[in-house]
Protein backbone atom coordinates (compact mmCIF):
# COMPACT_ATOMS: atom_id res chain seq x y z
CA UNK A 1 0.00 0.00 0.00
CA UNK A 2 1.30 3.40 -1.07
CA UNK A 3 0.17 6.34 1.06
CA UNK A 4 0.05 9.60 -0.90
CA UNK A 5 0.06 12.78 1.17
CA UNK A 6 -2.58 15.23 -0.03
CA UNK A 7 -1.68 18.66 1.32
CA UNK A 8 -3.70 20.56 -1.31
CA UNK A 9 -0.64 21.33 -3.42
CA UNK A 10 -1.83 20.33 -6.82
CA UNK A 11 -3.47 17.51 -8.57
CA UNK A 12 -2.81 13.94 -7.42
CA UNK A 13 -4.68 12.14 -10.17
CA UNK A 14 -1.67 11.27 -12.30
CA UNK A 15 0.36 10.05 -9.29
CA UNK A 16 -2.51 7.84 -8.22
CA UNK A 17 -3.13 6.47 -11.73
CA UNK A 18 0.57 5.77 -12.25
CA UNK A 19 0.84 3.67 -9.07
CA UNK A 20 -2.43 1.89 -9.86
CA UNK A 21 -1.17 1.06 -13.33
CA UNK A 22 1.75 -0.87 -11.78
CA UNK A 23 -0.61 -2.80 -9.52
CA UNK A 24 -0.16 -0.83 -6.31
CA UNK A 25 -2.96 -0.03 -3.91
CA UNK A 26 -3.09 3.65 -3.10
CA UNK A 27 -4.40 5.59 -0.14
CA UNK A 28 -4.67 9.37 -0.38
CA UNK A 29 -4.73 11.19 2.93
CA UNK A 30 -4.23 14.49 4.72
CA UNK A 31 -4.41 12.92 8.21
CA UNK A 32 -1.35 12.76 10.51
CA UNK A 33 -2.41 9.36 11.91
CA UNK A 34 -2.56 7.81 8.41
CA UNK A 35 0.96 9.03 7.70
CA UNK A 36 2.29 7.70 11.01
CA UNK A 37 1.11 4.17 10.22
CA UNK A 38 1.96 4.14 6.48
CA UNK A 39 4.17 1.45 4.92
CA UNK A 40 5.45 3.61 2.07
CA UNK A 41 4.89 7.31 1.56
CA UNK A 42 4.74 9.49 -1.54
CA UNK A 43 4.92 13.23 -1.03
CA UNK A 44 4.01 14.91 -4.34
CA UNK A 45 3.05 18.47 -5.11
CA UNK A 46 3.15 21.26 -7.62
CA UNK A 47 2.87 25.00 -7.08
CA UNK A 48 4.66 27.41 -4.81
CA UNK A 49 6.85 26.55 -1.82
CA UNK A 50 5.18 28.96 0.57
CA UNK A 51 1.66 27.74 -0.16
CA UNK A 52 2.91 24.17 0.28
CA UNK A 53 4.56 24.93 3.64
CA UNK A 54 1.53 26.87 4.87
CA UNK A 55 -0.71 23.97 4.01
CA UNK A 56 1.59 21.42 5.72
CA UNK A 57 1.54 23.55 8.88
CA UNK A 58 -2.20 24.00 8.80
CA UNK A 59 -2.79 20.27 8.39
CA UNK A 60 -0.20 19.53 11.15
CA UNK A 61 1.75 17.23 8.84
CA UNK A 62 5.32 18.44 9.40
CA UNK A 63 6.03 16.49 12.61
CA UNK A 64 4.47 13.25 11.28
CA UNK A 65 6.60 13.58 8.12
CA UNK A 66 9.77 14.11 10.18
CA UNK A 67 8.90 11.12 12.34
CA UNK A 68 8.28 8.63 9.52
CA UNK A 69 11.46 9.71 7.75
CA UNK A 70 13.42 9.29 10.99
CA UNK A 71 11.74 5.92 11.60
CA UNK A 72 12.97 4.50 8.30
CA UNK A 73 9.71 4.38 6.33
CA UNK A 74 10.45 4.50 2.57
CA UNK A 75 9.60 8.05 1.51
CA UNK A 76 9.48 9.57 -2.00
CA UNK A 77 9.27 13.35 -2.49
CA UNK A 78 8.28 14.64 -5.94
CA UNK A 79 8.76 18.21 -7.30
CA UNK A 80 7.57 20.64 -4.58
CA UNK A 81 7.52 17.57 -2.31
CA UNK A 82 11.29 17.43 -2.87
CA UNK A 83 11.94 21.16 -2.55
CA UNK A 84 10.26 21.64 0.83
CA UNK A 85 12.51 18.95 2.34
CA UNK A 86 15.44 21.40 2.08
CA UNK A 87 16.22 24.27 4.48
CA UNK A 88 14.90 27.30 2.62
CA UNK A 89 13.56 28.26 -0.80
CA UNK A 90 14.12 31.54 -2.64
CA UNK A 91 10.51 31.37 -3.77
CA UNK A 92 8.01 33.96 -2.46
CA UNK A 93 10.78 36.19 -1.14
CA UNK A 94 12.32 33.41 0.95
CA UNK A 95 10.41 30.50 2.46
CA UNK A 96 11.46 28.46 5.48
CA UNK A 97 11.21 24.79 4.60
CA UNK A 98 11.52 21.56 6.59
CA UNK A 99 15.34 21.29 6.87
CA UNK A 100 15.30 17.52 6.51
CA UNK A 101 17.93 17.67 3.74
CA UNK A 102 20.81 20.18 3.89
CA UNK A 103 20.72 22.77 1.12
CA UNK A 104 18.56 25.46 -0.38
CA UNK A 105 16.18 25.86 -3.29
CA UNK A 106 17.18 28.48 -5.88
CA UNK A 107 15.64 30.10 -8.92
CA UNK A 108 17.05 29.35 -12.39
CA UNK A 109 18.85 32.31 -13.90
CA UNK A 110 19.86 32.83 -17.51
CA UNK A 111 20.71 35.62 -19.90
CA UNK A 112 19.66 33.46 -22.88
CA UNK A 113 16.18 34.63 -23.82
CA UNK A 114 15.51 31.38 -25.64
CA UNK A 115 16.14 29.40 -22.44
CA UNK A 116 12.63 29.50 -21.02
CA UNK A 117 11.81 29.54 -17.33
CA UNK A 118 10.06 27.45 -16.09
CA UNK A 119 11.84 24.47 -17.51
CA UNK A 120 9.06 22.45 -19.13
CA UNK A 121 9.82 19.15 -20.80
CA UNK A 122 12.08 16.12 -20.84
CA UNK A 123 15.63 16.40 -19.59
CA UNK A 124 18.31 13.83 -18.86
CA UNK A 125 19.24 12.62 -15.39
CA UNK A 126 22.88 11.66 -14.93
CA UNK A 127 23.03 9.02 -12.24
CA UNK A 128 25.93 9.91 -9.94
CA UNK A 129 25.26 7.33 -7.24
CA UNK A 130 23.58 3.97 -7.89
CA UNK A 131 20.31 3.78 -6.02
CA UNK A 132 17.60 1.10 -5.84
CA UNK A 133 14.92 3.43 -7.27
CA UNK A 134 17.02 3.78 -10.44
CA UNK A 135 17.53 0.02 -10.83
CA UNK A 136 17.19 -0.98 -14.48
CA UNK A 137 17.05 2.64 -15.61
CA UNK A 138 19.77 3.64 -18.04
CA UNK A 139 22.03 6.53 -17.16
CA UNK A 140 21.04 9.79 -18.92
CA UNK A 141 17.42 8.69 -19.32
CA UNK A 142 15.07 11.62 -19.72
CA UNK A 143 12.28 12.48 -17.29
CA UNK A 144 9.53 15.11 -17.43
CA UNK A 145 10.26 18.35 -15.55
CA UNK A 146 8.13 21.42 -14.79
CA UNK A 147 9.82 23.92 -12.46
CA UNK A 148 11.37 27.37 -12.04
CA UNK A 149 13.31 26.57 -8.84
CA UNK A 150 15.85 23.81 -8.24
CA UNK A 151 17.40 22.16 -5.20
CA UNK A 152 21.04 22.94 -4.41
CA UNK A 153 22.24 20.10 -2.17
CA UNK A 154 24.94 21.23 0.26
CA UNK A 155 25.83 17.65 1.21
CA UNK A 156 27.16 16.10 -2.00
CA UNK A 157 26.71 12.63 -0.52
CA UNK A 158 22.96 13.10 -0.85
CA UNK A 159 23.05 13.62 -4.61
CA UNK A 160 21.73 10.63 -6.57
CA UNK A 161 21.13 12.19 -9.99
CA UNK A 162 22.02 15.46 -11.70
CA UNK A 163 20.43 17.52 -14.46
CA UNK A 164 21.61 20.59 -16.36
CA UNK A 165 19.40 23.57 -17.10
CA UNK A 166 19.91 27.31 -17.50
CA UNK A 167 22.77 28.33 -15.16
CA UNK A 168 22.56 25.21 -13.01
CA UNK A 169 23.70 21.64 -12.67
CA UNK A 170 21.32 20.58 -9.96
CA UNK A 171 20.35 17.53 -7.93
CA UNK A 172 17.34 16.20 -9.82
CA UNK A 173 17.37 13.18 -7.48
CA UNK A 174 18.64 13.23 -3.92
CA UNK A 175 18.24 11.36 -0.68
CA UNK A 176 19.73 9.40 2.15
CA UNK A 177 18.77 6.11 3.75
CA UNK A 178 15.01 5.60 3.40
CA UNK A 179 14.41 9.05 1.91
CA UNK A 180 14.53 9.73 -1.81
CA UNK A 181 13.31 12.82 -3.62
CA UNK A 182 13.09 13.77 -7.29
CA UNK A 183 12.55 17.12 -8.97
CA UNK A 184 11.01 15.54 -12.08
CA UNK A 185 7.62 13.86 -12.37
CA UNK A 186 8.06 10.08 -12.60
CA UNK A 187 4.28 9.73 -12.86
CA UNK A 188 4.41 11.62 -16.17
CA UNK A 189 7.67 10.16 -17.44
CA UNK A 190 6.28 7.22 -19.37
CA UNK A 191 7.59 3.69 -19.01
CA UNK A 192 10.87 4.80 -17.42
CA UNK A 193 9.01 6.88 -14.83
CA UNK A 194 6.76 3.94 -14.02
CA UNK A 195 9.87 1.80 -13.58
CA UNK A 196 11.13 4.26 -10.96
CA UNK A 197 7.78 4.12 -9.14
CA UNK A 198 7.82 0.32 -9.32
CA UNK A 199 11.35 0.30 -7.90
CA UNK A 200 10.17 2.55 -5.09
CA UNK A 201 7.19 0.26 -4.43
CA UNK A 202 9.58 -2.72 -4.17
CA UNK A 203 12.25 -0.84 -2.22
CA UNK A 204 13.02 -2.38 1.11
CA UNK A 205 15.08 0.64 2.24
CA UNK A 206 18.63 0.24 3.58
CA UNK A 207 20.45 1.38 0.43
Amino acid sequence: MITIIDYKAGNLTSVQLAFESIGQKVKITDKPQDILCAEKIVFPGVGAAKAAMDSLKKLKLIEPIRKVIADGIPFLGICIGMQVLFETSEEDGGTECMSILPGTVKKFKTSDKLCKIPQIGWNAVKIVRPHPVFAGIEDQSEFYFVHSYYPACSDKNNIIGQTEYADAVFASAAGRKNLVAVQFHPEKSGRIGLRLLKNFSDWDEGC
Binding site: T13, L17, V46, L114, P118, S141
Partner: protein, 259 residues
Amino acid sequence: MLTKRIIPCLDVRNRKVTKGVKFQNNIDLGDPVEMAVGYSDGGCDELVFYDITASAEGRPIDIDMVREVAKAVHIPFAVGGGIKDLEDMRRVLLAGAEKVSVNSLAVKNPDIISQGAKQFGSQCIVLGMDPVKVEKSDKFPSGYEITIQGFRTRTGLDALEWAKRAEGLGAGEIVVNSVDADGTQTGFEINLTRMIAENVGIPVVASGGAGTYQHLIDVFTKGKADAAIVASMIHTGKFTIKQIKDKLIAANIPIRQKW
Protein backbone atom coordinates in the same frame (compact mmCIF):
# COMPACT_ATOMS: atom_id res chain seq x y z
CA MET B 1 19.93 19.23 -21.92
CA LEU B 2 16.26 19.99 -22.22
CA THR B 3 14.94 18.20 -25.29
CA LYS B 4 12.60 19.49 -27.99
CA ARG B 5 9.17 17.93 -27.72
CA ILE B 6 7.23 16.18 -30.50
CA ILE B 7 3.52 16.40 -29.73
CA PRO B 8 0.88 14.53 -31.74
CA CYS B 9 -2.35 16.46 -31.95
CA LEU B 10 -5.58 14.48 -31.86
CA ASP B 11 -8.69 16.35 -32.97
CA VAL B 12 -11.62 14.46 -31.50
CA ARG B 13 -15.19 14.47 -32.74
CA ASN B 14 -17.76 12.05 -31.29
CA ARG B 15 -15.02 9.98 -29.63
CA LYS B 16 -13.16 9.54 -32.90
CA VAL B 17 -9.91 11.15 -33.89
CA THR B 18 -10.45 13.12 -37.05
CA LYS B 19 -8.34 15.23 -39.36
CA GLY B 20 -9.19 17.87 -41.88
CA VAL B 21 -7.50 20.67 -43.74
CA LYS B 22 -8.23 24.09 -42.25
CA PHE B 23 -11.04 22.53 -40.22
CA GLN B 24 -12.80 21.13 -43.29
CA ASN B 25 -13.31 17.78 -45.04
CA ASN B 26 -12.66 15.79 -41.89
CA ILE B 27 -12.16 12.04 -41.98
CA ASP B 28 -12.22 9.70 -38.97
CA LEU B 29 -8.91 8.09 -38.07
CA GLY B 30 -9.51 5.95 -35.00
CA ASP B 31 -10.10 5.66 -31.27
CA PRO B 32 -8.43 8.44 -29.24
CA VAL B 33 -7.30 6.21 -26.37
CA GLU B 34 -5.83 3.55 -28.66
CA MET B 35 -4.08 6.19 -30.73
CA ALA B 36 -2.73 7.88 -27.58
CA VAL B 37 -1.26 4.58 -26.40
CA GLY B 38 0.25 3.94 -29.82
CA TYR B 39 1.93 7.31 -30.00
CA SER B 40 3.09 7.20 -26.38
CA ASP B 41 4.63 3.75 -26.89
CA GLY B 42 6.10 5.07 -30.12
CA GLY B 43 8.02 7.78 -28.28
CA CYS B 44 6.00 10.98 -28.48
CA ASP B 45 6.81 13.41 -25.67
CA GLU B 46 3.35 14.73 -24.96
CA LEU B 47 -0.12 14.67 -26.49
CA VAL B 48 -2.80 17.23 -27.13
CA PHE B 49 -6.50 16.53 -27.60
CA TYR B 50 -8.96 19.02 -29.01
CA ASP B 51 -12.64 18.27 -28.64
CA ILE B 52 -13.41 20.06 -31.88
CA THR B 53 -17.19 19.99 -31.76
CA ALA B 54 -17.84 20.56 -28.04
CA SER B 55 -17.99 24.35 -28.48
CA ALA B 56 -20.15 24.32 -31.58
CA GLU B 57 -22.55 21.79 -30.07
CA GLY B 58 -22.61 23.64 -26.76
CA ARG B 59 -21.84 20.48 -24.79
CA PRO B 60 -19.21 19.91 -22.12
CA ILE B 61 -15.86 18.35 -22.93
CA ASP B 62 -15.78 14.53 -22.93
CA ILE B 63 -14.42 13.90 -19.42
CA ASP B 64 -14.72 10.11 -19.69
CA MET B 65 -12.32 10.20 -22.60
CA VAL B 66 -9.87 12.34 -20.61
CA ARG B 67 -10.04 9.86 -17.74
CA GLU B 68 -9.48 6.87 -20.03
CA VAL B 69 -6.48 8.53 -21.65
CA ALA B 70 -5.02 9.35 -18.22
CA LYS B 71 -5.35 5.71 -17.18
CA ALA B 72 -3.76 4.46 -20.36
CA VAL B 73 -0.80 6.81 -20.90
CA HIS B 74 1.63 8.20 -18.35
CA ILE B 75 3.05 11.15 -20.21
CA PRO B 76 1.74 14.73 -20.08
CA PHE B 77 -1.25 15.62 -22.19
CA ALA B 78 -3.26 18.76 -22.77
CA VAL B 79 -6.96 19.04 -23.48
CA GLY B 80 -8.67 21.88 -25.30
CA GLY B 81 -11.88 22.72 -27.07
CA GLY B 82 -15.06 23.32 -25.19
CA ILE B 83 -13.50 24.69 -21.98
CA LYS B 84 -16.00 27.32 -20.82
CA ASP B 85 -14.89 28.26 -17.34
CA LEU B 86 -12.74 27.44 -14.30
CA GLU B 87 -14.98 24.55 -13.38
CA ASP B 88 -14.37 22.90 -16.77
CA MET B 89 -10.63 23.38 -16.24
CA ARG B 90 -10.88 21.74 -12.84
CA ARG B 91 -12.77 18.74 -14.20
CA VAL B 92 -10.29 18.18 -17.01
CA LEU B 93 -7.25 18.48 -14.71
CA LEU B 94 -8.78 16.25 -12.02
CA ALA B 95 -9.52 13.65 -14.68
CA GLY B 96 -5.75 13.44 -15.21
CA ALA B 97 -4.81 15.97 -17.90
CA GLU B 98 -1.57 17.87 -17.24
CA LYS B 99 -2.71 21.01 -19.06
CA VAL B 100 -5.80 22.72 -20.39
CA SER B 101 -5.71 24.75 -23.55
CA VAL B 102 -7.86 27.83 -24.05
CA ASN B 103 -8.19 29.73 -27.28
CA SER B 104 -11.46 31.48 -28.22
CA LEU B 105 -12.44 31.60 -24.54
CA ALA B 106 -9.29 33.52 -23.63
CA VAL B 107 -9.90 36.09 -26.37
CA LYS B 108 -13.43 36.70 -25.12
CA ASN B 109 -12.43 36.60 -21.46
CA PRO B 110 -8.67 37.08 -20.92
CA ASP B 111 -9.10 36.90 -17.15
CA ILE B 112 -9.69 33.17 -17.49
CA ILE B 113 -5.91 32.86 -18.03
CA SER B 114 -5.01 34.61 -14.77
CA GLN B 115 -7.78 32.89 -12.84
CA GLY B 116 -6.72 29.48 -14.14
CA ALA B 117 -3.05 30.17 -13.43
CA LYS B 118 -3.86 31.28 -9.89
CA GLN B 119 -6.08 28.28 -9.20
CA PHE B 120 -4.09 25.51 -10.85
CA GLY B 121 -0.64 26.96 -11.62
CA SER B 122 0.68 28.53 -14.81
CA GLN B 123 2.10 25.20 -15.95
CA CYS B 124 -1.47 23.96 -16.43
CA ILE B 125 -2.63 26.83 -18.61
CA VAL B 126 -1.84 26.72 -22.31
CA LEU B 127 -2.88 29.55 -24.59
CA GLY B 128 -3.77 28.28 -28.06
CA MET B 129 -3.76 30.91 -30.76
CA ASP B 130 -4.71 30.80 -34.44
CA PRO B 131 -3.00 33.73 -36.19
CA VAL B 132 -3.55 34.52 -39.86
CA LYS B 133 -1.14 36.53 -41.98
CA VAL B 134 -2.25 40.11 -42.66
CA GLU B 135 -0.70 43.29 -44.01
CA LYS B 136 1.64 44.86 -41.41
CA SER B 137 0.05 48.02 -40.02
CA ASP B 138 -0.25 50.09 -36.86
CA LYS B 139 -3.05 47.81 -35.82
CA PHE B 140 -1.11 44.64 -36.68
CA PRO B 141 2.59 45.44 -36.16
CA SER B 142 3.50 41.75 -36.20
CA GLY B 143 1.70 41.16 -39.49
CA TYR B 144 -0.51 38.48 -37.97
CA GLU B 145 -4.06 38.75 -36.66
CA ILE B 146 -5.65 36.38 -34.15
CA THR B 147 -8.68 34.43 -35.36
CA ILE B 148 -11.09 32.41 -33.23
CA GLN B 149 -13.82 29.80 -33.62
CA GLY B 150 -11.90 27.57 -35.97
CA PHE B 151 -10.50 30.45 -38.01
CA ARG B 152 -14.01 31.73 -38.78
CA THR B 153 -13.86 34.98 -36.82
CA ARG B 154 -11.23 37.71 -36.90
CA THR B 155 -10.60 39.44 -33.60
CA GLY B 156 -8.63 42.60 -34.42
CA LEU B 157 -5.89 41.40 -32.03
CA ASP B 158 -2.24 41.49 -33.08
CA ALA B 159 -0.67 38.05 -32.61
CA LEU B 160 2.51 39.17 -30.84
CA GLU B 161 0.71 41.63 -28.58
CA TRP B 162 -1.76 38.93 -27.62
CA ALA B 163 1.06 36.45 -26.90
CA LYS B 164 2.81 38.94 -24.61
CA ARG B 165 -0.42 39.82 -22.89
CA ALA B 166 -1.24 36.15 -22.28
CA GLU B 167 2.23 35.61 -20.83
CA GLY B 168 1.65 38.56 -18.48
CA LEU B 169 -1.67 37.09 -17.42
CA GLY B 170 0.05 33.85 -16.42
CA ALA B 171 -0.15 31.48 -19.39
CA GLY B 172 2.49 28.75 -19.00
CA GLU B 173 2.93 27.94 -22.65
CA ILE B 174 1.71 29.17 -26.05
CA VAL B 175 0.66 26.99 -28.96
CA VAL B 176 1.01 29.00 -32.15
CA ASN B 177 -1.15 27.40 -34.81
CA SER B 178 -0.77 29.05 -38.18
CA VAL B 179 -4.09 29.36 -39.97
CA ASP B 180 -2.28 29.59 -43.29
CA ALA B 181 -0.31 26.39 -42.75
CA ASP B 182 -2.83 24.25 -40.83
CA GLY B 183 -3.26 20.82 -42.37
CA THR B 184 -1.34 21.73 -45.52
CA GLN B 185 1.81 19.71 -44.72
CA THR B 186 3.79 22.40 -46.55
CA GLY B 187 5.88 23.53 -43.59
CA PHE B 188 5.49 25.54 -40.42
CA GLU B 189 5.11 29.30 -40.53
CA ILE B 190 8.71 29.80 -39.40
CA ASN B 191 8.75 33.61 -39.17
CA LEU B 192 5.65 33.66 -37.01
CA THR B 193 6.98 30.94 -34.72
CA ARG B 194 10.36 32.61 -34.29
CA MET B 195 8.85 36.03 -33.67
CA ILE B 196 6.71 34.71 -30.82
CA ALA B 197 9.45 32.44 -29.42
CA GLU B 198 11.99 35.27 -29.28
CA ASN B 199 9.62 37.69 -27.63
CA VAL B 200 8.02 35.71 -24.81
CA GLY B 201 9.70 34.06 -21.84
CA ILE B 202 7.51 30.94 -21.86
CA PRO B 203 7.80 27.90 -24.11
CA VAL B 204 6.34 28.14 -27.60
CA VAL B 205 4.81 25.16 -29.34
CA ALA B 206 4.67 25.42 -33.14
CA SER B 207 1.61 24.02 -34.84
CA GLY B 208 0.31 23.73 -38.36
CA GLY B 209 2.11 22.64 -41.49
CA ALA B 210 4.33 19.71 -40.47
CA GLY B 211 4.73 17.41 -43.45
CA THR B 212 8.39 16.41 -43.76
CA TYR B 213 11.45 15.87 -41.57
CA GLN B 214 12.94 19.10 -42.85
CA HIS B 215 9.89 21.07 -41.71
CA LEU B 216 10.51 19.87 -38.16
CA ILE B 217 14.25 20.50 -38.34
CA ASP B 218 13.53 24.04 -39.57
CA VAL B 219 10.96 24.85 -36.90
CA PHE B 220 13.44 23.98 -34.15
CA THR B 221 16.55 25.52 -35.69
CA LYS B 222 15.15 28.55 -37.56
CA GLY B 223 11.80 28.85 -35.80
CA LYS B 224 13.28 28.52 -32.26
CA ALA B 225 10.28 26.47 -31.14
CA ASP B 226 10.43 24.54 -27.86
CA ALA B 227 8.04 21.90 -29.16
CA ALA B 228 6.25 21.03 -32.37
CA ILE B 229 2.86 19.57 -33.06
CA VAL B 230 2.49 16.86 -35.67
CA ALA B 231 -0.81 15.54 -36.97
CA SER B 232 -1.40 14.64 -40.62
CA MET B 233 2.14 13.42 -41.21
CA ILE B 234 1.84 10.72 -38.55
CA HIS B 235 -1.92 10.09 -38.67
CA THR B 236 -1.65 9.02 -42.29
CA GLY B 237 0.95 6.44 -41.30
CA LYS B 238 3.45 7.97 -43.67
CA PHE B 239 5.91 8.67 -40.84
CA THR B 240 6.42 7.25 -37.34
CA ILE B 241 7.50 9.23 -34.29
CA LYS B 242 10.65 7.12 -34.19
CA GLN B 243 11.56 7.97 -37.79
CA ILE B 244 10.97 11.65 -37.12
CA LYS B 245 13.07 11.56 -33.96
CA ASP B 246 15.93 9.70 -35.65
CA LYS B 247 16.12 12.40 -38.33
CA LEU B 248 16.05 15.19 -35.76
CA ILE B 249 18.81 13.49 -33.75
CA ALA B 250 20.88 13.19 -36.92
CA ALA B 251 20.42 16.94 -37.37
CA ASN B 252 21.86 17.51 -33.86
CA ILE B 253 18.59 18.61 -32.32
CA PRO B 254 18.22 17.55 -28.67
CA ILE B 255 15.54 14.87 -28.61
CA ARG B 256 14.41 12.31 -26.04
CA GLN B 257 15.82 9.02 -27.26
CA LYS B 258 14.87 6.44 -24.63
CA TRP B 259 11.30 5.60 -23.72
